[in-house]
Structures are given as C-alpha cells and as structure tokens.
Amino acid sequence: MNIFDLQERLHNSAFVGAGIIGEDFRLKKAIDEFGEISSKNAVFTKIYQLVKPLNDDSTEDKKKILLDAITFVDAVCATLAVTAKPEETTEIEQNAEDNVVMLRRSEVGAVITALTTGGSGRYQIVKNAYESESKVFEDYRVREYLYNGIFDQYSEMGILCGEIFVKKFGKKAVEFLKKDFDKKGRTESVRKLQAISFAGAEENDFYKSLASDSETSASVRCAAVNAMRCDRENRSFLEALSEEKIPATLATEIKYTFAFWKRQEEEEKKKQAENK
C-alpha cells in the first residue's frame, strides 16, 4: 500500500458516491493498510487521522471527510510527482538556420486550425490561402502541418496539401517525400506519391520504377500509373506493362489512363480546329 493506492481508492469512492461508502470494503482495506505505514512520517500520520473516520460507522458527515481527504491526498501526491527517466534516447538535431519565418496568429491561425482539426469548411480555407498566394505557407509551423495534411482522412484535403507542398517547396519537398518511401505501403504511400505527381514528368522514372516493380503494393502501382498521365510518351511503357501478369486493379488503371489520353487528344484536336 502506498499513498497513490489510497488516492485511487478515495477517488473511486467519490465516483460511486459517498452514500455507499460504508459498503466499500476496498476503501476500508486500503485505509487499514495505510494505517500500518502511517507512522513513517508526519504527513502520512495526518492523512491517516483524516481518513480513519471513514472506516467508522458512527461517523456522521462522511462526504465532507471524503472531500477533505481527497483534497489533502491530492496535494501530497502533487508534491510527489516525478520527472521521466527514459532508458534509450536519441538526440534530436536542431540544425535549422535562425531566420525561420513566423507569422502572427491572425495570419496563420485559420490555416493551421484547418490543417489540424476536422469538420467542414476547412478545405476551402486552405484552398483560398493557396489561391490568394498568401505567405502563410512560408511559416515553418504551417509547413509541418501541411506535410501532415497530406495524410488527412479527407482525401481531397490530402491531395490539396500534397499539391501545395510540392508546388511551394519544389525539389526539396519531392526529395523529402521520396526519402524512406515505402513502396509496399498503402494509403500513406499513395498520398505521398499523389503529392510527388504534382512535380509532373520530372519524376517519370520514379513512377515507372514503382509501376513495373511487382513487389510494390497494388495501390501504389495504381497511383504510379495515374501519375504517369503527365506524359503521353509513357504509352509504350504501359502497353508493355499491361501484357505482363499484373493485378486487375492495375490493368484497369492502365485502361483509364489510355482513355484519359484519348480524351485529351480529342480535346486538343477540337481546339486546333476551332483555332483554324
């Protein structure tokens, strides 16, 4: 028995009600056991004097005693709080330059809230900030939340965050997303790849390597094929890929890609005819 056990029992009595404290045999036992160690120091003696009447059937106002006891025991427990003692730790390197961009809450608050909470309306807030070319995304905190936003439960939000992340921070962002990329992963890797796809044909080799790798998860392969829509030169590669033994979802994605290009070509022809 220690003071924290006694604290737990006292709290439990308050949860279930002091009205039935006489029937609380666990509390009774805890008080008795605490009595055995109460002579250790003056504070424990005082606590025992305070809680002892709770075990006495003739005590009238047990609720007041219970409240006083909890107040006192909680205060003592607060003074006994300890700091953590982790066993194996790794140092976090802080090598960033001193000129970090920090904006006022009035400038970044709405976007950070939109990126870190749920609910409706937040997509529009982020989109408006992006379209108005606001400097919000230069703020170092927003950058961090923007990255986390790529994995937002709301997929459109995730794609928007990916687009902003890659378009605002260019190659650095792409390299960051490609670092430790888990080709066997699912949603998280797909979102990363969707974000990278905003870099367009520059990352074509990366898409190809993922699409053709049979060890890559089917969802990532599909996302890679989708990303390859940026360049119609990929047709022959995809045709060859469709000849191989591939998952049905990937075959469908390739078909959709061909259909997408066909429509694109038709639209271009239509535009050209209109221009003539």
Binding site: T79, P86, T90, E91, I92, A96, D98, M102, R104, S106
Partner: protein
C-alpha cells in the same frame, strides 16, 4: 512614432481588418494624405463603397493610446480605412503638411477634458458603499450554500449521478448562480456539466476531471464561507491583495489594483507565446498571451475573454513580436504567472540586448522550477500549470516521447520531433509545466535563441 505591422495588428479589431486595410493601402484607396506639422495627426480621404469619400484620421496626440476616426458606417474601431491609413504611414507614403481639421481639434479638446476629469476622479480615493458591499457578500454567502448543496449531492450520489435527470436541474442551478455574483463557481459547474455531457465515451477520464472541479468547488465553499462570514461580521470591504477573491465573484477594476499598489510604471514587456482557445462550457474564446517583464523577468499572462454572443464587439488579441512599453502596468493578485493588464502602450523593436536579457532570466535550476510548480499546483484553487523560462541542453526522443533535457532531468513534452528539426538549437525554452499521472510534463511554447524568440504555438 515607431509604427510596425505588428503594432497595426495589435490595434486592429481582427485579422480581416488588417488584411482589408493592407489591401486598401496597396490598391491606392487613399486619394489624399495629410499630416499635422507636429506629426501627431495623420489624415486622409479614402474611397469606399459609398458615393462620397471617407474622412479617415489617426491621432497620436497621446502616443500610447492613438485614436482612429473615420466617417464610414462601420462599427469596428479602428475600421479597415483607419488600418489602411496606418499602412500608408508604414509604407512611407508622402503626407502633405496641413492644419489640424476643426472637427478633430474640437474632439481633441473634448478628449483632453474627459481625461482630466478621469484623472481627478482617480486621484480621489474611492468611497465604496459599505452597506451595498455587505449586502452583496450576504448574497454571495447564500450562493455558496447552494454550491455546497450541489457538491454534497454529487459526492453523496456519485459523480455519474450528474448525468441523466440531474443534468437539466444542475444547468438551471448554474444559471441561477449568476444572481449570487458567483461567476467562478458558476463556470466550474457549467464545466462539470459540459465534461459529463461530452465524456460519456471515456468515463474514467471524465470522472477524474469532474472530481478535480468538485474538489475546487469544495475548497471555494470552505474558504469562501469563512472569509465572507468574517467580512460580514466586521462590516469590512473585501478589497485585498488575494487571488481567492476572484473565486467568489470579485472582479478587479484597474483603479482598484492601483489603489492596492498592484501596478508598475514604465514596464517593458515581451510576448513569449500566444494562443487562442475555445471554452465550450462558457461559449467563449480566450486569447492568452504569455509575457516576460524585461526589468524583473517575471512571467505573466494576459487574458482576453470573447464570448461568442459579443464576438463583433470585442477586439481579438494577436501575436506581438515587438516590445510593449507600458506606462502603467496593472498586476492581478496571485502566486505565479500573474495576470496583467494595461490600457495604453507604445511599441518598440525587439533588440538583441532584449533577447540577451530574456536569456539571462532563464532559470538554470530546473529542480527549483519544478518545486515551485508543485507548490503552485498542489493548491486546488490554483492553476493546473505554470509557465517558466528554463535553460535546457537538448531535446531527445525515445520510442514514446520527446523530452526536454535540463542537466540530468528529463521532462516529457508534447512537442513534435519534426517541428523541432525545423528550428535552430536554442538557449532556453518557455515551458508550461504540469502534472499528469504523477509525472511532471511540459508543453514547450517557444524557444529563445540568441537572435530570436521562436514560437512553437503562436
């Protein structure tokens, strides 16, 4: 007058006024710009949605309390046009010299007279009505009896009894407490009801939170009854330097704080952190700033409560990166992180010397800081956390947490590893220390490098 964007934002009622004001300035909304020969008045004409031009002015006759005026129909003060005019000054636009317009001269005179009268009033010691005060205390005592009944009932029947049929009854009771001037107990009961309502999925956590509030109420009742009975008997006024008074419904006026000597002249404050939270049980926003006094190193806080029903009429506070030079700083009673308030201030740029001063104020003795935190938190009527400025060596992580390391002491924090990697190493950290499950934990609000204060919140 040193006008910075920060200063403009601090005057503006909300973020959109700053954005719109900036837009007006950028798009050439002002068709004429003038200033008085002594540069205390800037005025101009601005085009708006109406047919005629708006006459907008910013009067710096009292530098610490500029007056913004505009003939537009907006009820916001300052309106976007006045904010726009401030941006015109900031961007270094040319203001032609001109005489102070007659109407403004008259308004200046009227304001000067009002200020004089106010000073006269303040110089005379206030004579509060003892009978009224005693009657109020009697009413508060009656209210505390009601609170005591609530606590007794909940603790007898068990905390979970608050739910169900009890909820509506207790909500009525909480509303009634307003008639007994017991704002804080009223807020605590509302918080209990809200916690119970929201926390059905996590009963253990909810019970602990509610019990904490019940203990707080119990302490308020116990101490409050004793205090009020004594005062009523002696027919004394309760104005004392004691933070507890707020718990039984006493609200401080700046004049009262001054009368009690709770103020300092010519203070210089730097904001270390800022955040806005929404308090569901009260339906209000709370803007909270953490500030350090450059002369004493004391860390204090500013609180700005904005109930949702009055959102449009209460100015929203913001992050502030300059130094606030405050002619008269009023300090609320309390033990640590005392609340401060001021009416007027003048901004100045934060210098390297200021940063070095802040670093010098940081505590190198983490154990002493922790002891102080424990002493503060053990009082049920005190706050749940204490903000301190501490020197630290590094941040480390294990597989569960990120820790701030001060010598041999490791304190678990909520800060994200990725966020820390985006900032440079620093000299000291602004930490909000609290106790959770018997462990000392910290929210890292900001870090201070030798060049800058880097905020992890706002």
């Amino acid at each position: 007058m040193n006008i910075t964007e920060d200063y403009i934002a601090s005057l503006a009622p909300n973020a959109s006024a700053v954005t719109n004001g900036k837009k007006i300035s950028k798009t050439g909304g002002f068709v004429s710009l003038h200033k008085s020969p002594d540069s205390t008045l800037y005025y101009g004409e601005c085009s708006g949605s109406g047919k005629s031009l708006y006459s907008t002015s910013v009067d710096f006759i009292d530098e610490a309390s500029p007056v913004c005026r505009c003939s537009c129909p907006s009820r916001q003060i300052p309106c976007k046009h006045a904010v726009g005019l401030l941006f015109e000054i900031l961007s270094g636009k040319t203001f032609e010299e001109g005489e102070v317009p007659e109407d403004i001269a008259k308004k200046r005179e009227k304001k000067a007279n009002a200020e004089e009268k106010k000073k006269e009033r303040e110089s005379k010691p206030s004579k509060p009505n003892k009978t009224t005060a005693v009657n109020k205390m009697k009413k508060q005592l009656e209210g505390l009896e009601i609170v005591e009944k609530f606590v007794d009932e909940v603790i007898t029947r068990g905390i979970s009894s608050v739910m169900g049929t009890g909820l509506a009854t207790y909500l009525e009771l909480a509303k009634d407490l307003g008639n007994y001037y017991l704002i804080e107990p009223q807020n605590i009961i509302l918080n209990i009801l809200y916690t119970m309502k929201k926390g059905a999925k996590e009963p253990e956590k909810t019970n602990e939170l509610v019990l904490k509030d019940i203990i707080k109420l119990h302490s308020i009742v116990k101490k409050g009854k004793e205090f009020l009975k004594d005062k009523i008997e002696k027919k004394e006024l309760p104005a004392e330097d004691d933070a507890f008074l707020e718990m039984i419904g006493f609200t401080w006026k700046l004049t009262q704080l001054k009368e009690l000597g709770l103020y300092r002249e010519n203070a210089e404050l730097v904001q270390l952190s800022f955040d806005v939270s929404y308090i569901d049980s009260r339906s209000e926003f709370l803007d909270e700033g953490i500030w350090i006094d450059l002369q004493t190193g004391e860390i204090s806080k500013t609180e700005n409560h904005r109930p949702t029903r009055a959102m449009n009429y209460i100015k929203e506070e913001d992050s502030f990166f300059d130094v606030a030079c405050v002619p008269e700083l009023c300090i609320y009673p309390g033990d640590s992180n005392r609340r401060v308030r001021w009416d007027k201030f003048v901004p100045r740029n934060l210098t390297k010397d200021d940063i070095m001063k802040i670093i010098d104020f940081a505590s190198t003795d983490i154990q002493a800081v922790i002891k102080n935190v424990k002493n503060c938190i053990k009082n049920p009527l005190s706050t749940d956390s204490v903000v301190s400025l501490v020197r630290y060596d590094k941040f480390v992580r294990d597989d569960k947490n990120v820790y701030i390391v001060c010598g041999d002491t490791y304190i678990a924090t909520d800060v994200s590893e990725n966020m820390l990697k985006k900032i440079p190493s620093a000299e000291c950290a602004v930490t909000e220390l609290y106790i959770q499950d018997g462990k000392i934990c910290a929210n890292v609000l900001s870090v201070v490098t030798d060049k800058n204060i880097i905020r992890l919140k706002y």
